[in-house]
């Protein structure tokens, strides 16, 4: 095996990454994925002196390492695809195709990833996109979106149905493409970049800003103190609790269970209000900064947090007990939207969506950062892969996270963490940062040029992997169960579209 083995948040010189022949590159990386413990966290291309340098990063969950290798190929070349061997690569290759015009001879479906700009062939747009068609008289198509009835993000879903039963779902995203990755290069100031990272997905502010802060600190050779690491871990876990609780409320809303919807909705409020107390923003914007923090955690904040959790837990337990024993709710949740273990492995799902299908994927355990090595995180694994499992997983992860927070507060590091000016980023280097957000693994990847300037920045939200899981989950389900399936994944549109 000819690859560079790195750890999470490690900065390595670009020159140390082996550049392979494409055929060898293909063989090596597809073979790596033969084992369940390895999955592709990032596979992308960037321009390097007129050629496209493809960079493939495979995470090994058992050893906590990331295997990096690369290949140089020409633009508009026709290549054999990774996807033909491992479907998990399908979206990465579609993106490469879209950005550089590299054609894949044996890729099953080079469906566009994003609209409308940043494309090698700008004339292809949504107006002339050929959706998957049916020829049958008996089947019917239902198109939903991109504008949805609830005030949510844009995305188009096209169902092929046999009566009430969904046979196929095609998901077309990219309507919200803002050009985040290009903006990272255009914005020179660190603060601008941090704010940009916070805005990648509005529901994963802590996740993305921690990923960015850790990456940037590693690139600048800064080692975060215990106080900073503590605050970041706390923010990630609080965000997990808050979003999971909100999702339980939304799941109840989608099956028209009013009590659950109202109570879980109310329970979410003190959680996000706590962020407001801590940093002045309910979504934790402004909390995480590379090189320090403007809102250091202190004894009085800890007291308020414990008070809030003490009030939260009994109500949460009672409502969960009520919801998860109510026959009408169970009838809607159980055996709805199943993703099997084999499907989850094949398409490379990550995070929560993987853990409900018996797939142990959790960066907190496999590539721990900040305070996670101290916590010795044990991922909660479910096996049925249905809506019920995804709801139960949320319930148990909330309890687990509350336990972690209580544990962390007992051993609170009290070093001051005022922001320090960071050094220059290392020149001609690559840094890869993995963070387990509430939805799953977030991957940020930066490449610097000769003077330490950013030449490429790559962001990957877990939704990038998981949207296909939703499309598979709803097959053979009732079309009226789609909303609850969709909510049980709660994937990000903007995190995918960037």
């Amino acid at each position: 095996m000819d690859n560079l083995i790195i750890k999470n948040h490690e900065t390595v010189p670009l020159a140390s990454i082996p550049v392979l022949e494409y055929d060898k590159f293909l063989a090596q990386n597809t073979v790596l994925l033969a084992e369940e413990r390895r999955h592709c966290v990032q596979y992308y291309g960037f321009l390097q002196s007129g050629m496209v340098q493809l960079l493939c990063c495979i995470a090994d969950d058992m050893h906590g390492t990331i295997l990096v290798s690369s290949a140089l190929v020409g633009k508009k070349q026709i290549l054999p695809s990774f996807t033909a061997h491992r479907p998990a690569f399908h979206k990465f290759e579609r993106e490469i195709h879209e950005n550089f015009g590299i054609a894949y001879a044996d890729h099953p479906w080079l469906k566009p990833v994003r609209y409308p700009f940043d494309r090698a062939r700008p004339q292809n747009d949504i107006a002339n996109y050929p959706f998957f068609q049916i020829g049958s008289e008996e089947l019917h198509e239902v198109g939903v979106g991109p504008i949805h009835a609830g005030v949510i993000e844009p995305g188009h879903f096209r169902f092929v149905c046999n009566g009430e039963q969904i046979l196929h779902l095609e998901i077309q995203l990219g309507f919200q493409h803002r050009g985040v990755e290009r903006l990272f290069l255009a914005k020179q100031h660190l603060l601008q970049r941090t704010v940009l990272a916070e805005s990648i997905a509005g529901d994963t502010v802590a996740g993305h800003s921690v990923a960015f802060a850790n990456l940037w600190e590693s690139l600048c050779g800064f080692r975060a103190g215990a106080g900073l690491q503590f605050a970041r871990t706390l923010a990630l876990e609080l965000e997990r609790i808050a979003v999971h609780t909100g999702d339980l409320s939304a799941l109840c809303t989608d099956v028209a269970y009013q009590l659950g919807s109202a109570v879980f909705g109310r329970l979410r409020t003190p959680l996000i209000n706590y962020f407001q107390i801590w940093c002045g923003n309910r979504f934790a914007k402004g909390l995480i900064r590379a090189g320090g923090s403007h809102f250091p955690f202190n004894e009085s904040l800890a007291e308020q947090l414990l008070e809030m959790l003490d009030a939260f837990e009994p109500d949460f337990d009672a409502m969960c007990e009520e919801t998860f024993t109510l026959p009408t709710v169970l009838a809607r949740f159980e055996k709805t939207g199943v993703v099997t273990h084999d499907q989850a492995v094949a398409i490379g799902t990550v995070g929560m969506a993987a853990r409900v299908s018996g797939l142990n994927r959790d960066i907190r355990a496999s590539h721990p950062h900040d305070f996670y090595p101290v916590l010795q995180h044990q991922p909660i694994i479910k096996h049925h892969g249905d809506v019920y499992s995804r709801a139960q997983l949320r319930r148990r992860e909330i309890k687990q996270s509350i336990g972690y927070i209580r544990h962390l507060l007992k051993h609170m590091p009290l070093d001051s963490a005022t922001p320090e000016p960071l050094g220059q980023p290392a020149p001609e280097s690559l840094t890869l940062s993995l963070t387990e957000g509430w939805r799953g693994e977030i991957c940020h990847c930066a490449v610097t040029g000769v003077r330490g300037e950013l030449v490429h920045y790559k962001v990957k939200d877990p939704s990038f992997h998981n949207w296909l899981a939703l499309a598979l989950a709803v097959r053979n389900n009732e079309i009226s169960d789609f909303p609850v399936c969709n909510k049980s994944f709660d994937l990000s549109y903007c995190g995918h579209d960037l």
């Binding site: 939903v144 609830g150 809303t253 099956v255 028209a256 109310r266 009838a331 909303p483």
Partner: protein, 301 residues
Amino acid sequence: MLSLAMIFLASLFFTGIVIRTKSLVSGRKGPGIFQPLKDVVRLFKKGAVFSQTTSFIFQVAPSIYFASVVMAILVVPVGQSKGLISFDGDFVFFAYILALGKFFSIISALDTGSSFEGMGASREALFSMLAEPAFFITMGSFALLTGHTSFHAIFTALHFGSYVSYALGTLATFVLIMIAMIENSRMPIDDPKTHLELTMIHEVMILDNSGFDLGLILYATNLKFAMYGAIIANFFISNLPLALAVPLFFAVQFFFAVIAGLLESFAARFRMAHNAEFIYTLTSFSLLIFFGVLLLMGKFI
């Protein structure tokens, strides 16, 4: 005339009470009782917008739908007082005039050419078709028991005296409440609060209606609820003097609204495929009523 006025009065606050009940039990204050009515009034002041793919059917359907509900109300008595029109076999007229209105709302949904509305129309057609036998077996059994075939005559001739007849009254109340929930597209069959087109039944059919037309449809729903409430009330008040019957009528309406609110608060909606099974069980309940009637009449030995 009295019954028409009372049903109209009940329709003013019925949906408001349902919504208020739901708000209170989920720990919120909720809108005022007359908020649904104010919404209707607001809509009445607006003009309607018609999509270019629709034909005249889409424009006349809301009026026909509303008219069908009003016509149906005309035959419903309250207590001793007859409906505005009353004749032998008027419960058959009642069912099919409502079906006519439903037919028009279904073809108007299909007229829009939207994939959602077709789906909703198909669900609505299926569920009301399945609910029909339950209504006819229930009313038919009472017709058999009393020997009359008009609402007014059936209810005035109905005497609850034995345990069996109490059981019949209870069963009939249950069947009628459930039919009312199905016909009004409420829980546990349909979720009126959802914003998700894919899970809607009735709401998705009226997505394209706006302004005055939408107001008519929404108000027809309120009227329909009050109408079913009146039929249920009749089981209890038909033999009482007017001074007692009128307050009792409103009490029954109120309790029905509260029950509807509670039904919608503490349970989730059924899975769409289970709806058909559930609605069909109503037919079994109505068969129990039928056998009960046979028992009362001594047809069983």
